[in-house]
């Protein structure tokens, strides 16, 4: 029996990737949940907002690289991130002014605004592709690994490797920082509270002297920051491809709902549940079983479900959770 190798294999193929992926989903879901909580609609353009922010960040990164700027062992994109966020903020604020503000004024039904966001999604989608094209772009630089597979094997003498990529560490650390900051902001600061008040009862917020345009603007800016950061971290860890960001939307929505819409804590929990279930349920346990029970030579892969169904599995879990907790793990809102 070889518990150590089994543990390493599980960590390498389940724990670490699921944590990193979960953080990426959580950051995306935070943005969705924030918009839902405060502006009260499901923003289908969020995935393309992420794509746009990342595209700008990449272009700035290229610029920086061309000027010879680098960020030591960290990816240069982190330096470019603020610019990406700023540009995205400008874009979403402009979108709000040109598009969404009208529907808020006429008090359109949420579903109408959702459809409007589908329209915005189409347009942003095209905009991003005009800007940077449709290709797969790899923009991660700096040190790729904290520890590589070979280094780990040499170090420990284990058969199983446990490489750790720097992008994974960066993702997890950034996600934790951002989440903490957001919590503090929403629950402790005056602006944060006024945003929650606005989300609760818009008319009454007005009567309390809360400036709605400010709340809306701050919300969009935060959403832009979250979207861009999530997009860039995701792109660093994988690669940038405009098309993929649209597809990221589904697991992101699933995370936000699973956790409870409008609830930031829920978004994070949701992200991790989705990530772990996608990876955990479809994992083939053959290798681990081989380490644990060397005598037992399994014929099959010991895989509960083939990986084609990983997405389906996460939705099954989502539905199961909703059956017992109809507004998500953390008691979300519903319009």
């Amino acid at each position: 029996m070889d518990i150590l190798n089994a543990l390493v294999a599980i960590t390498n193929y389940i724990l670490i990737p699921a944590t990193a992926y979960g953080s990426q989903l959580a950051l995306g879901a935070l943005g969705v949940t924030l918009i839902y909580g405060i502006l009260r609609f499901s923003n289908f353009a969020h995935g393309d907002t992420m794509a746009f922010g990342t595209a700008i960040t990449i272009m700035v990164t290229w610029g920086l690289q061309a000027m010879g700027v680098s960020f030591g062992p960290l990816p240069t994109a982190l330096l470019a991130l603020p610019v990406g966020i700023a540009a995205t903020a400008v874009l979403v604020l402009a979108t709000d002014k040109l598009v969404y503000s009208y529907y808020r004024r006429v008090r359109a039904a949420p579903v109408v605004i959702v459809m409007v966001s589908v329209g915005v999604m189409f347009m942003m989608n095209a905009l991003t592709r005009f800007l940077i094209g449709v290709d797969d772009i790899n923009f991660a630089d700096g040190a790729r690994f904290v520890i590589t597979a070979r280094e780990f094997r040499d170090m420990t003498g284990l058969a199983e490797p446990l490489p750790i990529r720097s992008s994974q560490i960066i993702t997890i650390v950034m996600a934790a920082l951002i989440v903490a900051a957001l919590f503090w902001f929403l629950n402790r600061t005056r602006t944060g509270k006024s945003m929650r008040a606005f989300s609760d009862n818009e008319d009454l917020a007005l009567l309390s002297g809360i400036n709605p345009s400010r709340v809306v603007a701050v919300t969009w800016i935060i959403a832009a920051a979250l979207a861009t950061t999530a997009g860039v971290l995701y792109g660093l860890d994988k690669s940038f491809k405009a098309f993929n960001y649209f597809h990221l939307l589904l697991p992101i929505f699933a995370s936000a709902i699973l956790g409870g819409l409008g609830n930031p804590l829920g978004a994070i929990a949701g992200g991790f549940v989705i990530a772990f279930s996608e990876i955990g349920v479809t994992y083939a346990w053959k290798k681990v079983a081989g380490y644990l029970l060397p005598a037992f030579e399994p014929d099959g892969l010991l895989q509960l479900l083939s990986t084609e169904y990983k997405f389906a599995v996460s939705f099954v879990i989502l539905i199961a959770v909703l059956l017992f907790k109809p507004t998500g793990l953390f008691k979300g809102k519903s319009v």
């Binding site: 529907y103 109408v112 459809m115 329209g119 189409f122 008319d203 007005l206 169904y309 539905i319 519903s334």
Partner: protein, 443 residues
């Protein structure tokens, strides 16, 4: 803040006829300028889209059920023509049919058992017994299914490798598609309809994805990603080639002054148009009758305020289930019609953007709660979706015409294809901007 009152839509009672006339004019113009084949093609898919939109409207507009799993029901309906109309694969049923049926029976028994335990047993027992039953059932299911599937898929994999269909007339597949979707809706509704608005939405989104996943990956059922093609046409639609080879037909076309190719392609499309139009009209009649009766009033009441409707004696869950099944059945029907029209089943093409959100766009643009609105929205949005493909690059050409040669111009021209999405988005935003409650609002 201002108190906004929805303005009375312009045109009053003339609005609908005028908008429909404009739509008709657009299609006629399309036919005159670009040929009737294209126009009829748009009309045919437009009619199917209208039926789909009607199905979604029944759920959303009448009862406020936010179903974004439309793609799942469409896909399920699409499976019907494969199962009904395709010829059976020789030897497939003998090889693995029994195993598959047994496995499905095990699956159903397991689920039934779980539900029974959940209903009758104490909480403590449930906690252990349900997972135990499910896990045991799952392994039994896999044990039965896997070898059977392997046998079926081994039969001439590049051409068949699936059970095949019954070889019955394709028209039968349409109601069957509706029934299959209805059955799925019943099971889903029983479990998920308790959920509120967006939670129901994402649950149905998930269910849609699950259904599509199954269709994509269960090759024994419908060849999965390998597609099934050559689905027979329904009565009374003939094949163009046969017409072109029929001297009688060629003669008749010649007497109209048409060449046989044009004549046959248009005739085939017209026959489809007729079939679809009959079904659409029947559905509209049924929905209008229902909507304008106490049933419709009850549904609107439930949509407006469930708690109060329940206090006024309306069985909200039952009604929700009823309408969820009806709407889904309509989507399934449309799915079956669409596959028949395409002549092939392509599971990978079922993506939510095209089969869920585009349909929703149709409903909202048309005006939710209004049946005629859904029809208008369905045809109009499909027309735009198709035309945007051509308009996008045209627009780009127009924009870049004034530009000097250079990399920017080249870049823009190369990106012209993305104008499709841009144009679509722009049109959507414009429509929703100038009639936010849809073109034909619910009165």
């Amino acid at each position: 803040m201002s108190q906004h009152q929805p303005k009375e839509a312009w045109g009053g009672q003339w609005r609908a006829p005028v908008l429909f006339a404009i739509m008709a004019a657009l299609l006629v113009f399309e036919g005159l300028s670009n040929g009737w084949n294209g126009a009829l093609g748009i009309i045919n898919m437009g009619l199917i889209s209208a039926i789909l939109a009607l199905g979604v409207n029944v759920q959303w507009g009448y009862a406020g059920l936010f179903n974004v799993g439309v793609v799942g029901f469409v896909a399920l309906g699409g499976l019907a023509p494969v199962l009904i109309a395709m010829p059976p694969t020789p030897g497939a049923f003998k090889a693995g049919g029994l195993g598959v049926l047994l496995a499905l029976a095990v699956a159903i028994v397991t689920l039934g058992l779980a539900v029974w335990i959940n209903k009758t047993q104490a909480k403590r027992i449930r906690l252990i017994a349900i997972p135990a039953a499910l896990i045991a059932g799952f392994f039994a299911y896999r044990a039965l299914l896997d070898p059977a599937v392997a046998m079926i898929e081994a039969i001439n994999p590049s051409a068949t490798g699936y059970l095949g269909g019954l070889g019955w007339p394709t028209l039968i597949a349409w109601p069957v598609g509706a029934l299959m979707a209805a059955a799925a809706a019943w099971a889903i509704g029983k479990t998920a309809l308790g959920l509120r608005s967006d939670y129901l939405a994402i649950a149905t989104l998930g269910i849609g994805e699950i259904i599509v996943s199954v269709l994509r990956n269960e090759e024994w059922l419908g060849r999965g990603v390998m597609n099934v093609n050559g689905i027979p046409r329904p009565w009374p639609v003939p094949y163009e080639i046969d017409l072109q080879n029929d001297p009688g037909f060629v003669e008749r076309m010649a007497s109209f002054g048409l060449d046989p190719v044009t004549g046959s392609t248009i005739l085939v499309k017209l026959l489809y148009t007729g079939l679809f139009a009959v079904i659409l009209l029947a559905l509209i009649w049924a929905s209008e009758m229902a909507l304008k009766s106490p049933w419709g009033r009850m549904m609107r009441a439930i949509r407006d305020n469930e708690i109060s409707a329940a206090a006024m004696g309306k069985h909200v869950t039952k009604r929700h289930l009823q309408i969820f099944i009806l709407g889904s059945a309509v989507c399934g029907l449309a799915g079956a019609m669409m596959i028949t029209l395409d002549g092939q089943m392509t599971p990978s093409s079922y993506n939510p953007l095209r089969y869920t959100f585009l349909i929703w766009v149709m409903v909202i643009v048309g005006g939710s709660g209004n049946n005629w609105g859904s029809v208008l929205g369905g045809v109009l949005i499909w027309y735009l979706w198709i035309k945007a493909e051509a308009w996008g690059p045209d627009m780009m050409e127009f924009v870049t015409a004034q530009m000097s040669e250079g990399s920017l111009k080249q870049h823009l021209i190369d990106s012209a294809a993305h104008m499709r999405l841009l144009t679509m988005g722009l049109i959507l935003l414009l429509v929703l901007r100038f009639s936010p409650r849809g073109l034909l609002p619910e009165k």
